[in-house]
Amino acid sequence: MDDKKSIGLAVVSEISGRPAGELQPSQNLVGDLGIDSPKALQLLLLLEERLDIEISDEDAAQMDTVGDILDYLGARA
């Protein structure tokens, strides 16, 4: 796993409170990990800050699962 994806996974782990090792690409951010709107805001801001990127609203709207985030970060690598 490349650096960006590792950082992304660490951020999801930090926001959801689940160990990174337990996270699966298929897990839904809201339904499985309880990442509601406030947590999603924290997640997106933290990803932007740690990776020094800007995530567009269109891209953010497509992020429903852990895998969506990892795929997005992989595509930006």
Binding site: P38, L45, A60
Partner: protein, 251 residues
């Protein structure tokens, strides 16, 4: 009557309703004897500084607050953004405040919340706009402070400005929050609380503690406003809109 906001008839109806509500609100407000009974200097500091604050009050005070915020802050140069729900009520409110030149972002905790909260965050951090965030809106439970407002303060750095509103012997609508409508020519009291910053590095438990403190703070300023018009802060209605859908007739 159900109105489809996407139809031509629906748009026209909502537009007319928005204009009517705006004129009713302004007309009624013009008769009120409104006074800031505590914290007038804080309001002045906010207006003079021009830095964004998160304007917060309970949902049942929305009607009371609207004309005051428009006149005391928006017309005096503070850029305001309103978070309005994606419901028909939210559509009407949006049309009403747009005519005043106030920006709106549409969404709520239940619909479009992620994008809406992000848009509000951007309005604060990039446009220095002060958002109106009603922490128990749009559907309650009444006087329950949703954590999203605290997170917005935490991540944007803007403090929350707690506002208490009360009217003398008001009417109550039969909505989930028993929305307060002032009687014409009655006294209205406004209490402006101390702006409260939310620290950036809070863990989930500490953030929950902060959310409870903010809830208590908003109750406190509302209670003080009630005290000054001879009213009292009743226990919150233990219903949300989901439990008490639709009823909005004046009691």
């Amino acid at each position: 009557m159900k109105v489809n906001p996407d139809s031509r008839f629906g748009r026209l109806t909502l537009s007319l309703a928005g204009h009517l509500a705006r004129w009713l609100l302004l007309g009624l407000s013009a008769t009120l004897r409104a006074r800031v009974v505590e914290g007038a200097e804080r309001l002045e500091q906010v207006r003079a500084a021009g830095s964004p604050v998160i304007l917060s009050f309970w949902h049942d005070r929305s009607f009371l607050s609207a004309a005051f915020l428009y006149r005391a802050l928006h017309l005096r140069g503070l850029h305001i953004t309103l978070l309005a729900s994606q419901s028909r009520d939210g559509e009407m409110v949006t049309r009403m405040v747009k005519a005043w030149g106030i920006d709106t972002v549409r969404g709520s905790a239940t619909r479009g919340g992620r994008a809406a909260l992000r848009a509000i965050h951007r309005a604060v951090t990039r446009k220095s706009s002060s958002p109106i965030m009603i922490p128990d809106g749009p559907k309650g439970p009444a006087r329950s402070f949703k954590v999203g407002v605290a997170v917005l303060a935490q991540t944007s750095g803007a403090p929350i400005l707690p506002l208490g509103f009360a009217a003398e012997k008001p009417w109550h609508l039969r909505s989930w929050d028993r929305m307060i409508v002032p009687r014409p020519f009655s006294r209205v009291a406004i209490v402006v609380g101390e702006p409260r910053h939310v620290e950036r590095d809070l863990d989930a438990d500490t953030l929950e503690d902060e959310r409870r403190r903010l809830e208590a703070l908003l109750d406190q300023v509302t209670r003080r406003a009630e005290d000054s018009v001879g009213g009292h802060l009743t226990p919150p209605a233990d219903t949300s809109e989901a439990e008490q859908a639709g009823a909005t007739d004046a009691r």
